[in-house]
C-alpha cells in the first residue's frame, strides 16, 4: 500500500493524488455466493493527468469506474477498502446525500457513446435544469450559459442542442452532450467509460481531441476506462492494466507500451495488429478472459494463460496473487507478478 503511494508521488511531482484508491474490493452476490469483481486494488490518479484503465470484459474495470462515484450497482457492493477523493474524503463512508451531491458536482461521468444516457422524453435543456435543481443551483441562467459555452467549445450549435431530444442527436453529438453534463457543474474529476466504443475512427479521433482539450483547459483529473490500448496510448499519460479484478501493471503509458513487464500486459500489447511494421510480430493470446465465476480464487489470476508460468512453473504463482509492487528499475512502474519480482531480486542480488 505504502509502496504504491511512494511510487506515484515520486513521478507526479509533489502534488498529492486527486484520487487515491486503496485495497478496494467489490463483490457481487451470485447464486454461488459473493464473488469479487475487483479485489484489493490500489490506484492513484495524480491531479491533472489522464490515466487509462485498460482491460477486457470481466476485468472489473467498469465496476471500478462506477465505484469512483460510489455507485456500484446491486447486487454488487464495496466489501473493503477506501476511495479518497480530493476535497470529498473517503467516498465509501459518505452519506447517500453527500454522494448524490458529489456525483455530477465534484465527479463527472461520461457514458459510452452507443448508450442512451439521456431521458428520451425530455429535451437536453430540460434535463440540464433538472441537473441544476438536483444540485441546488440557484442561478439558472448562469448554468445554461456555462452549458452553452461548453457545447460551443466542442463545436456544437448550443441553442439547438439544448432544444433537442436524444433521438435527434447523432452518436458523436450525444457523446459531447454527455461531456457537457459531466462538466457543467465544474467537476474536477472526470470518469470516461468506454467513451469511443462503437464509434468509427474519425469520430473517435474527434472525441479524444475534445477529451484532451477539456482536460487541459479545466485542469481535470481524468480516468479513461477502455478495452482499446490505442485509445489510452493516444491520450493518457498513465496506464493501468486490469485482469480478473486485479491491476496487474501500472506506469507511464509510453514506458509500459515500450517495455511491458507483466506477462498479460505484454501479451495484450503483442496481440494488437499494427498499421505499420512487421505483421508477424503479432501473437495471439491463448485461452479466454475469466468471468466473475471463473476468476481463480487462489494464486495468480492470469496463471492459466500465462506464458511465463507455463515455462517456469513458479510455486508462488499457484499459492497467492502477487501484490502490485514497484519494479527495481526506479521507473515508478508497478507490476503484480511473481516472476518479475524474482528477476528483480536476482538482478539486485547480482549488483550488490
Amino acid at each position: 500500500m505504502t509502496a504504491a503511494t511512494q511510487a506515484t508521488t515520486s513521478t507526479a511531482a509533489a502534488a498529492p493524488p486527486a484520487v487515491t484508491i486503496r485495497d478496494l474490493t467489490i463483490v457481487y452476490r451470485t447464486p454461488a455466493g459473493e464473488l469479487p469483481a475487483v479485489s484489493g486494488v490500489d490506484l492513484d490518479l495524480p491531479p491533472g493527468t489522464i490515466t487509462g484503465l485498460v482491460g477486457e470484459s470481466g476485468s472489473g474495470k467498469s465496476t471500478l469506474a462506477l465505484s469512483l462515484l460510489g455507485a456500484v450497482q446491486r447486487p454488487g457492493r464495496i466489501a473493503a477498502g477506501s476511495i479518497h477523493v480530493d476535497g470529498l474524503g473517503n467516498l465509501v463512508e459518505l452519506s447517500a446525500k453527500s454522494l448524490q451531491e458529489a456525483r455530477g458536482g465534484e465527479i463527472g461521468y461520461v457514458f459510452q457513446a452507443a448508450q442512451n444516457s439521456l431521458n428520451p422524453l425530455k429535451t437536453v435543456g430540460k434535463q440540464l435544469l433538472d441537473l441544476g435543481r438536483s444540485h441546488g443551483v440557484r442561478d439558472r441562467t448562469a448554468l445554461v450559459r456555462s452549458a452553452k459555452e461548453l457545447l460551443a467549445g466542442m463545436g456544437l450549435d448550443a441553442a439547438r442542442v439544448l432544444d433537442s431530444y436524444q433521438h435527434e442527436l447523432s452518436g458523436g453529438m450525444r457523446q459531447r452532450v454527455g461531456i457537457m453534463f459531466a462538466l457543467v457543474l465544474n467537476a474536477h474529476v472526470l470518469v470516461l467509460d468506454e467513451p469511443t466504443t462503437a464509434l468509427d475512427m474519425i469520430s473517435q479521433a474527434n472525441v479524444l481531441k475534445i477529451v484532451r482539450a477539456v482536460h487541459t483547459e479545466r485542469g481535470l483529473t481524468t480516468l479513461l476506462v477502455t478495452h482499446d490500448i490505442g485509445v489510452v496510448a493516444e491520450v493518457a499519460e498513465r496506464i493501468a492494466v486490469m485482469y480478473g479484478g486485479v491491476v496487474v501493471e501500472q506506469g507511464e503509458t509510453a514506458d509500459v507500451l515500450r517495455a511491458p513487464k507483466h506477462p498479460y500486459a505484454r501479451a495484450l500489447i503483442n496481440a494488437i495488429p499494427r498499421v505499420s511494421g512487421d505483421l508477424s510480430a503479432a501473437r495471439p493470446l491463448p485461452g479466454r478472459p475469466p468471468t466473475l465465476g471463473t476468476i481463480p480464487t487462489r494464486g495468480c489470476v492470469f496463471r492459466e494463460r500465462c506464458a511465463v508460468y507455463a515455462e517456469r512453473q513458479l510455486p508462488a504463482c499457484v499459492a497467492e496473487q502477487p501484490p502490485l509492487a514497484p519494479v527495481a528499475d526506479g521507473s515508478g512502474r508497478l507490476v503484480a507478478c511473481h516472476a518479475v519480482a524474482v528477476e528483480d531480486q536476482q538482478a539486485t542480488g547480482e549488483t550488490a
Partner: protein, 336 residues
C-alpha cells in the same frame, strides 16, 4: 404536429372501415337468423291484412331493415339509416327507439367503467412501481403475487364473491340495481347516496379485477426502464431520488397506454358480466335483454356502440401516446 394530424386521419379512415365491416356483419347475421325475423314480421303484418306497402313501412320502422326488395337495396338502405343513427325501434320496450334504449344503458356503463378504470389504473400503476423497485424484497413479491392472483380471477367470480361477502354475509351494500326507486331523483343527498352505494360494489369489482393487469404491466415496464442506460446515467449525474423516480415513472407509463386502450375495450365488453351479476342496468344488461327478447334492433345498436367505444378508446390512447412521446411527435424513427 403534422405527424399527429396524419395519424389522426389514418385512424379515422380505419375506424370508419371497421365500423362498416362490423355493421355489414350484423346485417348478414340478422338476415341469416333462423326464420329471418324481419321477413317474419313483414309476413305476419301482411297476413293480418295490412297492405304490402304499409307492412313494409311498419317493418322498416321497427327493424331499420327493408323486409323486401333485392339484397343490395336492403343493405344500402340499412347503411343509410345507420348514418342517421337510426337503428329502428326496440321491440321489448314499446315506442322507444333502439338508439335511445342503448344510450340509457350507456350512461350507466360509462360511469361505472370510468370509475373502475380510474381506481384500478391509479392503484395498479402505483403498486406496480413499488413492486418493481422492491422486487427483490418480500413486499415486492407479495405485491406481484397479489397482482397475478387478482389478474387471474374472472370478473364474474369477483362480482359474485363481492356479492356474497357484502350483501349476504355482511350486508352493507344493496344487492342490485342502480338506485333505490323509492328515492326522489334529482340532485339531492339521499339520491346521490343511493347512486353511490349502488355503484360502489360494481365499481369495486371492476377495479379489483383490472388493477392486477396494470400492476403486472407497470412492474415489468418499470423493471425494463430501470435497466435503461439513462437511469444509471441520471444517478451518476447526481439527480435526486425523486427526480430519478419521476424519470422512470414517466418512461414506464408510455407502454401502458396501449394496454390502457385494450382494457377500456375489455371493460366495455366485459361490462356484461358485472352488470349481470349486480343487475346494474347498463349497456351489458341492455345487450343481454335484447338477445333474450330477440330485440334485434337494440342488439344491433348496442353491439355497434360498444365496438365504436372500443375503437374510439384505441384512437385516443394512440393519440395520447403520440403527444407524449417526442420520438413519435418530433420526426425520427417511429416507435411501433
Amino acid at each position: 404536429m403534422r405527424n399527429l394530424l396524419v395519424r389522426l386521419a389514418g385512424h379515422l379512415v380505419r375506424a370508419l372501415v371497421m365500423i362498416w365491416v362490423v355493421a355489414t356483419f350484423t346485417f348478414f347475421l340478422i338476415r341469416l337468423m333462423p326464420g329471418d325475423p324481419v321477413a317474419a314480421q313483414y309476413e305476419k303484418l301482411v297476413q293480418q291484412g295490412m297492405s304490402p306497402d304499409a307492412a313494409r313501412n311498419a317493418t322498416r320502422l321497427t327493424y331499420g331493415f327493408l323486409p323486401t326488395g333485392s339484397g343490395w337495396d336492403q343493405y344500402v338502405h340499412y347503411l343509410w339509416r345507420l348514418l342517421h343513427f337510426d337503428f329502428g325501434r326496440s321491440t321489448q320496450t314499446l315506442g322507444v327507439n333502439a338508439s335511445a334504449e342503448v344510450l340509457t344503458g350507456a350512461k350507466w356503463t360509462i360511469g361505472l367503467v370510468l370509475a373502475g378504470i380510474l381506481i384500478s389504473f391509479a392503484l395498479g400503476t402505483v403498486l406496480g412501481v413499488i413492486a418493481a423497485i422492491r422486487r427483490s424484497s418480500g413486499v415486492g413479491d407479495a405485491l406481484t403475487i397479489t397482482g397475478s392472483l387478482f389478474h387471474a380471477i374472472p370478473q364474474f367470480v369477483m362480482a359474485l364473491v363481492l356479492i356474497t361477502v357484502f350483501t349476504v354475509i355482511w350486508p352493507v351494500f344493496p344487492t342490485d340495481g342502480n338506485v333505490d326507486i323509492l328515492v326522489d331523483p334529482g340532485f339531492n343527498g339521499p339520491y346521490v347516496a343511493s347512486l353511490v352505494s349502488h355503484a360502489s360494489l360494481p365499481a369495486l369489482a371492476y377495479a379489483l379485477s383490472m388493477f392486477g393487469s396494470y400492476l403486472l404491466t407497470m412492474r415489468s415496464s418499470v423493471i425494463s426502464v430501470l435497466g435503461d442506460d439513462f437511469v444509471l446515467a441520471a444517478e451518476l449525474r447526481g439527480l435526486t431520488r425523486t427526480m430519478r423516480l419521476r424519470y422512470i415513472a414517466r418512461n414506464a407509463l408510455l407502454p401502458l397506454f396501449t394496454i390502457f386502450a385494450l382494457t377500456i375495450g375489455f371493460m366495455f365488453g366485459g361490462a356484461v358480466f358485472i352488470e349481470k351479476a349486480f343487475n346494474y342496468p347498463g349497456m351489458g344488461i341492455t345487450l343481454i335483454n335484447s338477445i333474450g327478447h330477440r330485440d334485434y334492433s337494440t342488439m344491433n345498436a348496442t353491439f355497434l356502440l360498444i365496438t365504436a367505444a372500443v375503437i374510439v378508446a384505441n384512437i385516443v390512447a394512440d393519440l395520447l401516446y403520440t403527444a407524449i412521446d417526442p420520438r413519435v411527435r418530433r420526426g425520427g424513427e417511429a416507435v411501433a
